[in-house]
Symmetry: C2
Subunit: 350 residues, 2 copies
């Protein structure tokens, strides 16, 4: 943000560098962070804007609410384990949960392409409501636009969400401390592989279903059981690599991941190897990392394992002082730096 | 909604009737109301959902907030009097204002098409921030997605908004009473004509600029001055005809409009006549109707006239008991029913 001057008329991303928006600008990697850091964040300057969170924390009526937005353009709209409707609920519920909030209300904004099958819209809308009911949130307001054929792609959905942050909850990268344990709630990479398999029509012996799910019940169980949760982040676009790098950068500390402890299903691993993907960079839609006080790590894993979507919880790494680096300690003892990719390996994953 | 059974698996809009989504389903007319009434509203059933309002009223921390969402797909993105960025702020600020709320916070969700000029994005983002500053709201959270070339159209923006409803404010179609005066804050039809002129490259002697503007200062001036405001509605998609029909239907009462008092600029009227549009059905983005107690009508008009975007305020009609009809009393004394169109005359107007 440092090269932005308020009120300047010249685009802070020079034409010579990126004259046009690329698919990678939406991919959760360094190019997206450049777009946010140079264009969005400095322009929409606000004391309440928190670049290090997916949700803003707002004072309302003497309390605090979390407010977040997400647009969904996943292709294909319907995939093993869900569709764009359920995903649109899960994604926004999870953004609220990652701020420590209890999700309450969602909005739903539809951009439909002329010629969309009415039955498909019906299927998507039904899935949204089922996901909302399961998550205990209400879809309270909406909007519909239709664009001409060839100017959209079936259904795009925006969900914005409001949640209530309990008074005693403080989830923030600023609370991350050396020694903290890093926990994930289950196996990695399934959402991305489910999408690409559905998109490209790749058939495997076992079918890979997306992990898409609402996760706020896991967060509230950790908090209710007195776990000292310092920070949370969902492992969406850019996967574990983007999420850990974001938190390392925002906290000023480093994160070490033990490769041997990383939970990746065999079929997901095989598909990743075949297609040249790294499961640590593949998007999930029902996975998050929790950074907790070291003494609470074991108990936190145990709590998660007793709950739906937490059965595969495991501690995968630790925080060390300073550096803002993410390193992977391989099965053979060697360590290498895990840098954020420039874009997502897969466009339109969510 | 009566023909919907919860949990049914069959799409409530029969394939034989509308197998595909049409442009008109997004046009603010009867087809959009059918889509909302048969698919969205009964599925997203919620006590808090208010079909008769563009914003939901939600209890938070002992007070009430208004929550609303709007997606913007206007074509062209940049038009005389604004662009998609300023429009996205004005539209959501106005939805909050129409619920009697003081607009506070906005989210911004971008769906960008691969290949979009980075400079265009910069222009749009700058306009959003200017509009937000002028309206006194903060853009506090955001999201960016990029879709492949040919699957979007430059920039689509979703803005969701949160506003605070003062304790003593109760704006609702239920409060509309026979005898009430209907007031608009200025001349009608400019936004729609500005868009079509820009889209089709029609040049007129005078250039028509969109009326796009934030209107909450007008609402708060009415309330602060003790005007008994029963109901408010912005005159967007479907224009005055859709807005009056919605309120007639929601209130159970009828609305009579005096054609002679309708404020339409001469150049707008000429363009409408040339192109076969009715200025009463053309979308505005800086116009609203206020339904106020009869004794307050004159004072309300006076207050509006003293404020920016209210200079052309005028009383255009009255409410009469029952019937849920909108009628137009022509200059020659004849009366005709003004029915909602099936769709907007102009697609992608906002």
């Amino acid at each position: 943000m440092s090269d932005y001057t308020p009120g300047q008329l010249v685009c802070p991303i020079p034409i010579s560098e990126y004259p046009k928006v690329l698919l990678a600008h939406g991919g959760g990697g360094t190019l997206m962070h450049q777009l946010i850091g140079k264009i969005f964040a400095p322009t929409f300057k606000s004391d309440l804007q928190q670049a290090e969170h997916d949700a803003a924390t707002l004072p309302i009526n003497g309390g605090r609410i979390a407010f977040t937005t997400d647009s969904f353009v996943v292709n294909p709209m319907i995939f093993p384990g869900g569709n764009i409707g359920s995903l649109a609920v899960h994604g926004t519920v999870n953004d609220l949960a990652m701020a420590g909030a209890k999700p309450l209300y969602l909005s739903a904004g539809f951009i439909l392409e002329e010629g969309l099958d009415m039955e498909t819209l019906w299927t998507v809308v039904q899935a949204m409501q089922s996901a909302a009911e399961e998550a205990g949130v209400q879809i309270v307001t909406g909007d519909t636009k239709v664009v001409d054929r060839g100017k959209g792609d079936g259904v795009f959905i925006n969900t914005a969400g409001i949640g209530l942050i309990p008074d005693d909850v403080e989830i923030s990268p600023k609370r991350i401390e050396p020694g903290d344990a890093v926990i994930v709630n289950g196996d990695l990479g399934r959402h991305g592989m489910a999408i690409i398999a559905a998109r490209e029509g790749i058939g495997f012996e076992t079918s890979i279903e997306s992990d898409s799910a609402s996760l706020h019940h896991l967060v509230s169980a950790l908090l209710a059981n007195g776990i000292n949760v310092h920070c949370l982040r969902d492992l969406t676009r850019g996967g574990l690599v983007s999420a850990t790098n974001e938190l390392a950068s925002a906290s000023g500390h480093s994160i070490q991941i033990n490769e041997a402890s990383l939970p990746v299903r065999e079929d997901v691993n095989a598909m990743c190897e075949l297609l040249g993907f790294d499961p640590m960079s593949v998007a999930n839609e029902g996975r998050f990392m929790a950074v907790v006080a070291p003494d609470d790590a074991e108990k936190a894993v145990e709590i998660l394992r007793g709950l739906p979507h937490g059965e595969g919880a495991v501690a995968i790494g630790t925080v060390s002082e300073g550096g803002s680096l993410v390193t992977l300690k391989s099965r053979f003892g060697a360590a290498r730096v895990l840098s954020m990719l420039s874009g997502e390996q897969l466009p339109r994953i969510c």
